[in-house]
Symmetry: none
Subunit: 203 residues, 4 copies
DNA sequence: ATCTAATCGAGACGGTACGTCGAGTCTTCCC
DNA sequence: GGGAAGACTCGACGTACCGTCTCGATTAGAT
């Protein structure tokens, strides 16, 4: 996980020296998020983040490989909290809740930030890598685990490619977010869930 | 359209001085497009564009407000309709062909250009509007007409919201294009078509 | 004199085409002089001269080889003798009047022009020669004649090198004009005259 | 002293951050001097200085306000070293040595550079400010200190305005340097010193 | 109670691209 | 053919940001 902060919750062997200042880490992420919302991706400079956080650039670059990683982690931190992955035991309900949650996420401030990120990722492979590892993968893994539970309980065909299912479910939502050709409403999320579900081989 | 070149096809009253060098303008846009494809948005520098176009930076900045505007206009010139929309009479086959065609389009140079276009649209509503009207709408209208024919022939439920269907079909493809978390292969197109079809109420 | 305008008073063979517009030439030189006084040598751009003169840059570069030549010719037009050299019969008074007159000259528009002239002379021997013959020599000759009268009347040592005296008296004034490290006031002129006449008061 | 490099020999309180790289500073000044001598004032570009010094333009502009200030300090650095201000205890001898030293300085490569600087200063207030603060002021301060010692020892009137004295002594030398109407020989320096000290011999 | 090592804030560094400006040239139409 | 308008190339300017590095100061565990 090179794009992620190293320390965090890992099992540090607790070396000799001064330990990492977790308060500084939190201040940096908070400052990064503020600047991301205020100025956008390109204008949120590392110097500005360091200054607002009362940290030094060296501290930032000790724990994150580049600017994109900081902003990505700041973004992710604001999402995982308020985005519990429901497991009601009912496949249709789980999926609808997932998509509705995601729609409500995209509709707020986070949606704009996410758009800026994906835009930046198109012209910068580092940003793209950070986006995939910090944002996409954890969310997809969590949703995949949910679907796997449904598979194991027999509510979903066992040979189904879950990556495909995730693309079918989330693709339309990202599509509207980025192309802006239609509204991002809960009703849209439900309709997509409905269409997609009826096609899934419900073994 | 302030972000675009002023002159172009406008009704210039043919002022007194030396007229704009349209050849140089074309060379600049051509160079911009080449560099965009070769290096991406961020690495396509104005100096490089000027050098390859045999123009000077001053000329570029006389006609475009900044680098993004040059690249945007270069991009816009490539958006043309040259995709035959097949109509075989078989819904499944039509959809598969559509998606496979689109995949092959995205896989080439046009895919990279499209990515850059969508990226630019995220921070510029004018670009976004142009993208929707010049790229999205004609293509969606054509595909919608195809689906409507299938509806009239009874192969597709008559009360189906076709915009929803288009999002379900194309969303996953745009999603992989922009997020880059999976390959854009014909097999992927087929799999999406299959999943989507099985869910459509084939009344 | 390649640095000057070609036409002027030369015997033009009166070729086929439209003759040179002498009014435009005069407007260009007038504009050049104004801008030289207002902004200095570097900030008096050719674009500004052309705009103020209502001329085009092409016209300027048709008749002068470069910007310096235009400004030089504008400058040369202002070098005229209009300074009465007083002869009161009193050495001290004569010298003080001379220096005070010179100070008042330097303080006005002519001072700024003179600065520009001397600056140009540093990198152009032709300008330097013109400066010495057109400006320096007549003025020094006149002052030398005045001092010679004082020598003949016994008020000044007969074996005194008058060039040296002129440098001692005028050098400090030119120095402040060009280095700008102190004010060019009549009081300064008087003080220099006093010191030069009496020598440094040695405790 | 805004036109001067900040650090140098000042009593820095040794702030927290990384200290200024004095080696880089020396390399920049050395490169500036070389280019000044090779190409002259106008053609010694900041990019060339940075490249030859192995430094970056940002480093140059961090410590000097503009190109003129760098070149000025480079020039000054080469002079103050090999130009000790003598203090023999004899006023006349000190002054003669000072002026003779200055004449020998003006006669070499430095004289040409100095002329170019003063010329540039006439049309560029930034250069003028740099010239006064980097060249004039330190040299005048040093000579003033010398004269003050003579004042304190009673060899020079205590109420004498030393700025005036400096103009009387150095003005004639700068005058000949810039107007070029007479030779810059040691004999000239001696004659000026003699006249200034004793006053004009009034027959 | 030191010693040692890793951390911190501060901030200077090399590098790269930006967008601006002026000089001098060239190209069109108008007189 | 001369002149006004104004677009062009060239090249330097000074600025901004990135990611790296080097200080002195701080804070632990190890000796």
């Amino acid at each position: 996980m090179p794009a992620l902060s190293k320390g965090a919750s890992e099992e540090c062997v607790r070396g000799r020296g001064r330990p990492r200042d977790e308060v500084a880490r939190a201040r940096i992420l908070e400052a990064a998020l503020q600047l991301l919302e205020e100025l956008g991706f390109a204008s949120a400079t590392t110097d500005a983040i360091a200054e607002r956080a009362g940290a030094s650039k060296a501290t930032i670059y000790r724990w994150w490989p580049d600017k994109a990683a900081v902003l990505m982690e700041a973004l992710r931190g604001t999402v995982t909290q308020d985005n519990p992955f429901p497991d009601t035991g009912n496949l249709r309900q789980d999926i609808r809740l997932q998509l509705e949650n995601f729609i409500s996420l995209l509709s707020g401030q986070r949606g704009r930030i996410l758009k800026a990120f994906i835009a930046a990722a198109q012209s910068d492979e580092e940003v793209a890598a950070a986006f995939r590892s910090v944002w996409m993968k954890p969310r997809r893994d969590a949703t995949k685990a949910l679907l796997e539970r449904h598979q194991q309980k027999g509510r979903l065909a066992k040979d189904l490619d879950l990556d495909l299912v995730l693309d079918l479910l989330y693709g339309p939502l990202y599509f509207r977010l980025l192309a802006g050709h239609g509204p991002l409403t809960p009703a849209f999320a439900d309709a997509i869930a409905e269409l997609a579900l009826e096609g899934l081989p419900q073994g």
